[in-house]
């Protein structure tokens, strides 16, 4: 029989406000095995921990139950306390009477009753606890960064700077991401290319960094420190190591009418293409959906003009398997589709564009060489209307847009409006907004300048309808402050489309067993205290995959994610989790059910000899668990038909004892 000590925490008024902690301590005194029970204001404080240590010595405790906050918060703390008092740290059980009790109940009587029940369950469990010793596992000192935008680039550079190898997997033919498509960046108006492309070159030249462009992650196995990742290198039909990026093939390719993704379809590219002049790697890629050689076996011009002999029409997708210690997700964002926003006539008029298209129109390397011209007729627009929150903060129209604020639109719209007025003083620029949100260093000053120095007309209110009429766009809007309807004849309408996580994020989250919120943004381990870590150990978050972010915020988060990765890779060994599965070979059928469900490949089979009741020896197939690989998820224990597989620290009997204690 264990000698159990119960320690009930008030958590200030967090618990004591809704739970009668003294009554809980008193009620648990009579539970089987309990020899000591008390309560205290802050159990996790030094004084509280000392109280536990003293009680262990005075009452010869063999097991500890702490009724406090979630084990995610302080289980590690109290395990250390137990170890300091000479107990095995796994003889501690936490009853969560805060998150699962006091915070969800209003009534003292109900809260107290439930806290007692939760305490009883923990006592019942600790009575069956056994001391456990964790093993160790090695750390593969290499990181994987998924996504090669500014977030992925910065994370990779910082990790490489600390001396660790990093691989970047980018699904596009070049790294650079959304930032490479931007013109100027707020609030300082540096040219995006001028600050991004040197970083892209740094990545390419860094000996520690490998770039897998035009590639995607197809499978992830393993666990923190020991991930096994399969990377699919899509066939680009060009030998990457030979191509010099000279561009001769692009000039000669006869298929010249393919919409150019980099310019958002506002101009055309060839079937063999390099997305933009500063691409990294600067290597051509053949679009298999457009190339006549690949589709019909006729043409082959690029192969003839390539002096390096880099073209290879027979190239196949290649699968690379690599080991990593840590994985950083940097899959970024996309503007949402404007298909469902017919009121703004996006599909009816070429002169209704999104803000990202506006970036390309004003970019010197864009389809109009940086001159602001209407896409429909190439004329200079005089009246320009910017519409904010298109699909953002869309509570009433959740099926059309997003409920959240996309965060970056206020600032880039101010930038667009200001730059337009600066370069073309003959224009009239209107911005329709719900609120202008500018919380950031020098952000509000920037917005004020757009209004006060550059004369941008900010109107609080939403645009109701845009109707193309002749070569004008009739904009019907409301001015909420003047309380009147406005009718503006605009030449160009720019929609600040909401942003959403990239579509590749959800299948990736499944592969990584990383959690996501309802909007498909990755969730962090703790929103305040662990913002760049995923709840899945060894998986880190960088940039807009975690939530809408501007460049300064993305870069700082990218650096933070890198520092967490460096902290992990700097270790030679990781202390494992002793709560792993083990199989009772006398009961094991060798049926493979457990191995089939094991996500970590921790289970193997061996032929073992068994003495039979009639004194003969028989050979049977039985399961064996590799404790260094097992992550204690418990999938095998429920798949096992005979109950041979059990989880240390969460044994079937322990869980049944908890249920029994609750149902008693």
């Amino acid at each position: 029989m264990q000698r159990v000590g119960v320690f009930v925490c008030w958590c200030g008024s967090n618990i004591a406000g809704t739970v009668d902690v003294q009554a809980v301590a008193e009620a648990l005194k009579s539970e089987p095995g309990v020899v000591f029970s008390t309560d205290y204001q802050y159990m996790c404080s030094q004084a509280g921990q000392d109280m536990i240590k003293t009680a262990v010595k005075e009452h010869n405790l063999t097991g500890i139950v702490v009724c406090s906050c979630s084990p995610r918060m302080h289980e590690a703390t109290f395990r250390k306390t137990a170890a300091a008092a000479g107990l095995n740290p796994y003889m501690v059980e936490i009853a969560n009477i805060r998150e699962q009790c006091s915070w969800v109940h209003k009534d003292m009587a109900t809260g107290t009753e439930k806290a007692i029940i939760l305490g009883k369950a923990a006592v019942a469990k600790v009575n069956l606890n056994a001391p456990l010793t964790p093993g160790e596992s090695p750390v593969t000192k290499r990181a994987l960064v998924i996504g090669g935008g500014i977030a992925g680039i910065q994370t990779a550079l910082d990790i490489a700077d600390a001396g660790f190898e990093v691989d970047i997997v980018e699904k596009n033919p070049t790294i650079g991401g959304k930032m490479a498509q931007l013109d100027k960046t707020f609030p300082t108006l540096d040219c995006a290319a001028c600050i991004l492309t040197p970083k892209m070159v740094d990545v390419a030249q860094n000996e520690k960094i490998r770039i897998f462009s035009y590639s995607e992650v197809t499978d992830v196995k393993g666990f923190v420190g020991n991930f096994d990742v399969t990377i699919k290198k899509n066939a680009r039909y060009v030998k990457e190591e030979i191509c010099t990026g000279c561009g001769a093939c692009l000039e000669k390719c006869p298929m010249k009418k393919i919409p150019n993704e980099f310019n958002l379809g506002m101009d055309n590219r060839t079937a063999i293409y390099i997305p933009f002049a500063q691409a990294v790697p600067k290597v051509a890629t053949i679009d298999p959906t457009a190339c006549t050689m690949l589709k019909k076996g006729k043409c082959g011009i690029c192969s003839k003009v390539c002096t390096a002999g880099a073209i290879d029409y027979t190239q196949k997708d290649e699968y690379i398997e690599e080991k990593y210690g840590a994985i950083v997700v940097a899959t970024g964002f996309n503007p949402i589709s404007m298909d469902k926003f017919d009121e703004f006539a996006y599909s009816q008029s070429k002169d209704v564009i999104t803000s990202l298209e506006f970036e390309r129109l004003t970019n010197a390397a864009g389809p109009s060489a940086g001159k602001l011209l209407r896409p429909s007729d190439g004329k200079h627009p005089h009246t320009i209307v910017f519409v904010q929150c298109v699909g953002s903060r869309c509570e009433a129209c959740a099926e059309k847009g997003k409920e959240y604020c996309s965060k970056i639109c206020c600032m880039y719209t101010a930038k667009h409006a200001m730059l337009t007025r600066d370069k073309y003083p003959d224009t009239e620029v209107y911005v329709f907004y719900i609120d202008v949100r500018t919380p950031g260093k020098n952000f509000d000053e920037f917005y004020r300048r757009a209004v006060e120095e550059f004369g941008v007309k900010y109107i609080k209110g939403m645009v109701g309808k845009v109707t193309p009429e002749g070569d004008k766009l009739k904009v019907q809007a409301s001015d909420l402050i003047a309380n009147k309807q406005l009718h503006i004849d605009a030449d160009l309408v720019v929609l600040a489309a909401a942003i959403e996580p990239d579509k590749s994020a959800r299948p990736l989250a499944t592969m990584l067993t990383a959690s996501m919120d309802t909007n498909d943004f990755f969730t962090e381990a703790h929103p305040k205290l662990r913002p760049v870590e995923s709840p899945t150990a060894g998986v880190f978050l960088s940039g807009a995959c975690q939530g809408p972010k501007d460049i300064p915020e993305t870069v700082s988060q990218a650096g933070a994610a890198a520092s967490k990765v460096i902290g992990l890779l700097a270790k030679d060994k990781l202390t494992g989790n002793p709560c792993v599965a083990s199989s009772d070979e006398l009961m094991c059928n060798g049926c493979s059910s457990c191995a089939n469900v094991c996500p970590y490949g921790a289970i193997t089979y061996a032929e073992k000899e068994f003495r039979m009741p009639d004194r003969t020896t028989k050979v049977r197939r039985v399961a064996e668990v590799n404790p260094a690989v097992c992550q204690g998820c418990g999938a095998c224990t429920v798949a096992c038909p005979s109950g041979a597989m059990d989880l240390k620290g969460f044994a079937n009997l322990q869980i049944m004892a908890e249920v029994d204690a609750i149902c008693k």
């Binding site: 299948p507 499944t510 006398l586 009961m587 094991c588 059928n589 060798g590 049926c591 493979s592 059910s593 089939n596 469900v597 089979y605 028989k618 049977r620 197939r621 798949a639 038909p641 005979s642 109950g643 041979a644 079937n652 009997l653 049944m656």
Partner: protein, 332 residues
């Protein structure tokens, strides 16, 4: 009415025994009456000729016996498998429960097996012998002067009326045709019970399971129940040796068993065949099979060796847990 006679099987088995290809034969042994056929191991031609039968009462599925017999007996074992037995055979191979090399499997045709309780319900007690005549059984009783003719189809076992397949999915040698998977309406009864209100459904199962005497026959005959140590025999499991002492425990046993065989049950129907209380236990398993088919796509356990059952494999197309609930709510 079986198309193949016991004599042909005896001849086949005798030849294989004499040539030393196999060391023993798993087959059906005649009992006191024509209908109480029992499984047996035959190790000589004499035994075969004296006791071996194959008739309308040879329902027993031998797949399960291979687990213990291949461990105990030396040499190869000859086993006769009816089409539905071959699915259990494959399922056990998928689970590595016996060594395929130690078995010589002969696939035999099956026209469906008779449920003796249906015969008794028709002609009454005191059956002394049963002969066949065309599509009829000729049943002699102690009380009737003349044998009573009973239509063979009217006394078929439930699992044979709803036979899912006459296809042999595993064999070394085949007597007769390979056969085909059959269109069937085996889920109709499940659908009927699903359509009941929760209270009616509870009453239905309460009524059926209240007859359980915990004889363990269903478990002992079930080809999916081959655990080295059954949870019901394991003191550490917390559910060991429970008698049907109250209405909860009688259900507990059958519900746990249905969960344990879910995804592995081939729907061979042995559980209901051996139940002395005539509880339609196969309905529990069929409910699982029906749900799995609807949730994850058609799946037949034992169709091939090494198949991944939907419950122990994961794909991104899998139903989200909440969707099952939504389906239930919209149905109700």
């Amino acid at each position: 009415m079986q198309k193949i006679t016991g004599d042909i099987l005896i001849e086949k088995a005798s030849a294989l025994l004499s040539s030393g290809t196999v060391s023993c034969v798993l087959g059906w042994k005649k009992g006191e009456f024509g209908y109480d056929v029992t499984p047996a191991v035959f190790s000589s031609v004499e035994e075969l000729e004296r006791d071996f039968v194959y008739n309308d009462f040879c329902g027993a599925n031998f797949s399960k016996y291979l687990v213990s017999k291949t461990r105990k007996l030396e040499g190869k074992i000859l086993v006769f498998l009816k089409p539905c037995d071959t699915y259990s055979f494959n399922q056990l191979l998928s689970e590595h429960r016996f060594d395929r090399e130690k078995v010589y499997a002969i696939g035999i045709p099956c026209e469906g097996m008779v449920d003796i309780s249906k015969v008794k319900a028709t002609v009454g007690e005191g059956i002394s012998s049963i002969d066949t005549d065309g599509d009829n059984l000729l049943v002699s009783t102690l009380y009737d002067e003349e044998p009573v003719a009973v239509d063979f189809k009217s006394v078929l076992a439930e699992r044979c009326i709803n036979c899912k397949s006459k296809k042999h999915v595993a064999y070394d040698e085949l007597l007769g045709e390979e056969g085909d998977v059959i269109e069937n309406s085996r889920f109709d009864e499940v659908a009927r019970i699903e359509a009941l209100t929760p209270d009616e459904r509870f009453a239905f199962w309460q009524n059926e399971l209240s007859r359980c005497i915990r004889c363990n026959a269903c478990r002992d005959a079930c080809p999916a129940c081959t655990c080295e140590k059954c949870v019901f025999d394991n003191p550490a499991s917390g559910v060991e040796n429970k008698s049907p002492a109250n209405s909860f425990e009688e259900k507990l046993f059958h519900i746990i068993r249905a969960y344990h065989v879910a995804g592995r049950c081939t729907d061979c129907g042995e559980c209901s065949r051996v139940c002395p209380q005539n509880i339609p236990l196969h309905l529990l398993n069929r409910k699982f099979i029906k749900d799995m088919n609807e949730f994850y796509g058609e799946y037949q356990a034992g169709e091939e060796v090494g198949m991944r059952a939907p419950l122990v494999s994961y794909t991104t197309e899998d139903l989200e847990p909440g969707e099952a609930l939504t389906r239930r709510d919209t149905d109700a």
